[in-house]
């Protein structure tokens, strides 16, 4: 008997797999209701689960309490949407066990794969980030409040990524694994899955926006307010966070004007939803990044944010630092050429430019709030949790 077969994580995975039978005795409607109620319990700041979630996440996420509250309030998914998603399964059978590996940068990323798996009747083992494992544990506790037996089909474990023995043991029976994280971490993880297991990797990514400013000031403000939400959400730590906003100048609004307006919008939002504390490494990167903006003659900064004008694509250190680049629609493709394969989301206020392959397109203000079940990185969410036909 090898080490892996004796491993407690293997036993946990086996127990979770068996719990799938109980999960599937619940009707689809029941599963949808349980998940919906669990999400509402977390979203409701007056409910015990909601209060506990806010306290726990304040300790682990590094986000401000206001940002956590904003994020949790957006958690609930309408039951009708859950049921619509489940219809995609048609007559396909759920996998006997799914796995998911979460990253620690955006805590709400735990919700979608867990919800999808349980909704479709697939038990799931979750390797949470060793940096922040609060959200999947909170979600499991909230599900348990609604249906303790159903919650047994969800196991959450925490250990540092890259532990080969543990990863092999945890995913030894998983038919499919969904991974979020760096390209490097995911490529290593792929080598540790069971033979024949399918792997759905959501690696490095970045968001961009393309704007043709409208003529009226109020309309520009509407766009900058929405973009400010995209930049500030989760303190710009996600792979869908916009780093660069391309602006095609008009007779009325230059890229510089737009950058100033965006800075004002970020300032307004920051007063209501402040940025969390800056890690020292980011502070060091931010200093260098902002200095380049200042040297290039366009840095608009305030308490916890900055907008820098740039002549070309420039990644930001995150944490509410964003670049504005003057760019005509016919030059957009070449402007993102060096990073196009990393572009996960494109937001624009019209149909001005063509998105790179497998890139999600959306309106301003929706970059960090994809709808539940939307195809991500070209991969439909449900396929990971259903057996191959």
């Amino acid at each position: 008997m090898n080490r892996s077969s004796q491993h407690p994580l293997r036993e946990l995975a086996e127990r979770t797999r068996h719990a799938g039978a109980v999960l599937r005795t619940r009707s689809l409607e029941t599963r949808a209701r349980v998940l919906y109620e669990a999400l509402w319990a977390l979203a409701d700041k007056k409910a015990p689960s909601g209060r506990h979630a806010r306290e726990a996440l304040a300790r682990t996420t590094g986000l401000s309490p206001e940002m956590i509250d904003w994020s949790l309030a957006a958690l609930p998914i309408e039951q009708a949407r859950l049921l619509m998603f489940a219809e995609r399964a048609e007559d396909r059978v759920p996998v006997d066990l799914a796995g998911v590996v979460l990253a620690g940068n955006v805590f709400v990323a735990a919700i979608e794969p867990i919800t999808a798996a349980l909704l479709l009747g697939a038990p799931i083992v979750v390797k949470a980030s060793s940096r922040d494992d609060a959200m999947p544990r909170l979600f499991r506790a909230a599900i348990r409040e609604q249906d303790p037996e159903l919650a047994e089909a969800l196991a959450v474990v925490t250990f540092p990524g890259g532990d080969e023995d543990k990863e092999r043991a945890l995913f030894s029976r998983a038919e499919s694994v969904v991974g979020y994280g760096s390209d490097h971490a995911l490529s290593e993880l792929a080598t540790r899955l069971a033979p024949g297991a399918r792997f759905f990797a959501h690696g490095h990514g970045v968001g961009v926006a393309f704007v043709v400013p409208p003529d009226h000031d109020a309309d520009v403000t509407t766009i900058t307010d929405a973009l400010a939400i995209d930049v500030c959400a989760y303190d710009q730590r996600g792979c869908m966070s916009p780093h660069v906003v391309f602006v095609e100048p008009t007779e009325h609004v230059s890229a510089r004007d737009f950058a100033i307006q965006l800075a004002r919008a970020m300032d307004r939002l920051g007063q209501r939803v402040p940025r969390g504390p800056l890690p020292p490494k980011v502070a060091s990167q931010q200093l260098q990044w902002r200095a380049i903006g200042e040297a290039q003659g366009g840095l608009f900064e305030g308490d916890g944010f900055a907008v820098a004008l740039s002549s070309g694509f420039r990644l930001s250190p995150g944490y509410r630092n964003v670049v504005v680049v003057e760019c005509t629609r016919d030059r957009f493709a070449s402007a993102i050429d060096s990073v196009s394969r990393f572009v996960r989301v494109l937001a624009q206020n019209g149909q001005w430019v063509t998105a790179p392959a497998d890139c999600r397109c959306c309106a301003m203000g929706e970059m960090q709030r994809p709808r539940f079940g939307e195809t991500r990185d070209g991969i439909p969410l449900h396929v990971a949790f259903l057996k191959e036909t």
Binding site: A103, D132, G238, P280, L287, Q288, A295
Partner: protein, 362 residues
């Protein structure tokens, strides 16, 4: 005006040469006065520095990847050193119209920390000056060959370690009993280590042989801590750990910093060599650890990002803000690198990751 500053800098550098009898506090007072005069001069002469100095205290080094910052015109350049481009797409530039201060500073610091006992045979594990004229390291090592080298071997050709040349130099040293100085990048030493380990080859270099390694491993496939690296080198070449010296230099500077373990060992000092190694800061350079957000100096011994004011950077900006974390203890520098804490990046794309994937974002 520039000439006056150069004379002052030159006088400060000259004080490091033996007998080095001036108390350091006196030297530091002279340095501080020189740096203050230089700051005022450069703020007036270098527009981008003048604009940024109030906001940032010093010039953040990444700016040099996007803007020229010298007191002289490009037409006067006689040499431009370029950074490797590992942290941004664009490469930082350090133009010179006169290398005499650079040479004086490099020679003085190396003579103090690396060659206090005079010349010896050298083996260079870095590209030659001809191969990489834009590399400040290659330039410096070429000068070391002229100043401190009895016989010089370049064990690096066409971007690769020349293992045959390195082996030849090592075997010659063993055969002749003449001490050898191996000088190169940390990563070149890793390549040598891999090759020799695969062949099961070790060397026993003569007494007083030494190693100078410089540079990190950012973006490389293998990383070692400084103690691990020191231990590998020490074992492979049979050189005492105190004779394995790290150098800290930057393209944007004219001056270098070294660990003093070799000097102490040659002087018979019994300083514990495996304790935290610190870099000797020459008397014309001021190092300060500052808070990365407030940009104010942190308390002595506390960790901050490293600000370096190099009194030998007369024609280019002397006061530079690096991204390296460090602490300053008794005027000496303890480097902590660029990653003292992990950041929750997850799937969020970082600049280095784009570059390591082979695409240069500009």
């Amino acid at each position: 005006m520039s000439e006056e500053h150069k004379r002052r800098a030159s006088a400060l550098i000259a004080r490091l040469a033996p007998p080095h009898a001036i108390p350091r506090e006196d030297a530091w007072r002279a340095r501080d006065a020189h740096l203050e005069a230089l700051r005022a001069f450069q703020k007036a002469q270098i527009p981008v520095y003048g604009r940024l100095s109030e906001r940032f205290g010093a010039l953040p080094v990444d700016v040099l990847r996007h803007a020229r910052a010298t007191v002289h015109e490009a037409s006067e350049d006689i040499r431009v050193f370029l950074t490797s481009g590992t942290t941004q797409g664009a490469r930082g530039a350090h133009p010179f119209r006169d290398l005499s201060l650079y040479d004086q500073a490099a020679k003085a610091a190396a003579a103090y920390a690396l060659f206090p006992d005079g010349s010896l045979d050298l083996c260079v594990l870095a590209p030659s000056e001809e191969e990489r004229p834009e590399s400040s390291l290659s330039y410096m090592l070429a000068r070391f060959g002229e100043w401190f080298g009895e016989r010089v071997t370049i064990a690096f050709r066409e971007g690769k370690l020349d293992l045959a040349a390195l082996s030849g130099a090592l075997e010659r040293a063993q055969a002749t009993g003449r001490p050898l100085a191996l000088l190169g990048t940390s990563f070149a030493f890793v390549h040598a280590e891999d090759a020799f380990a695969e062949r099961g080859v070790t060397f026993a270099l003569p007494d007083k042989s030494r190693v100078m390694q410089t540079g990190g491993f950012k973006g490389r496939s293998r990383e070692f801590t400084p103690p691990e690296m020191r231990s590998l080198i020490s074992s492979r070449y049979d050189v005492p750990a105190s004779f394995v010296v790290s150098e800290y230099g930057m393209t944007e500077l004219s001056s270098q910093m070294y660990e003093l373990t070799l000097r102490h060992a040659l002087n018979g000092d019994r300083a514990p060599i495996d304790a935290t190694r610190r870099f000797f800061v020459p008397d014309w350079v001021r190092v300060t650890a500052v808070d990365p957000e407030r940009l104010q100096p942190v308390a002595p011994g506390e960790v901050g990002i490293l600000r370096i004011e190099d009194g030998a950077n007369v024609d280019s900006v002397a006061a530079l803000q690096t991204a390296d974390f460090a602490r300053v203890v008794d005027g000496e520098l303890e480097l902590l690198g660029r990653d003292p804490d992990a950041v929750p990046r997850g799937c969020s794309l970082a600049i280095d990751e784009v570059l390591s994937a082979g695409d240069g974002a500009t």
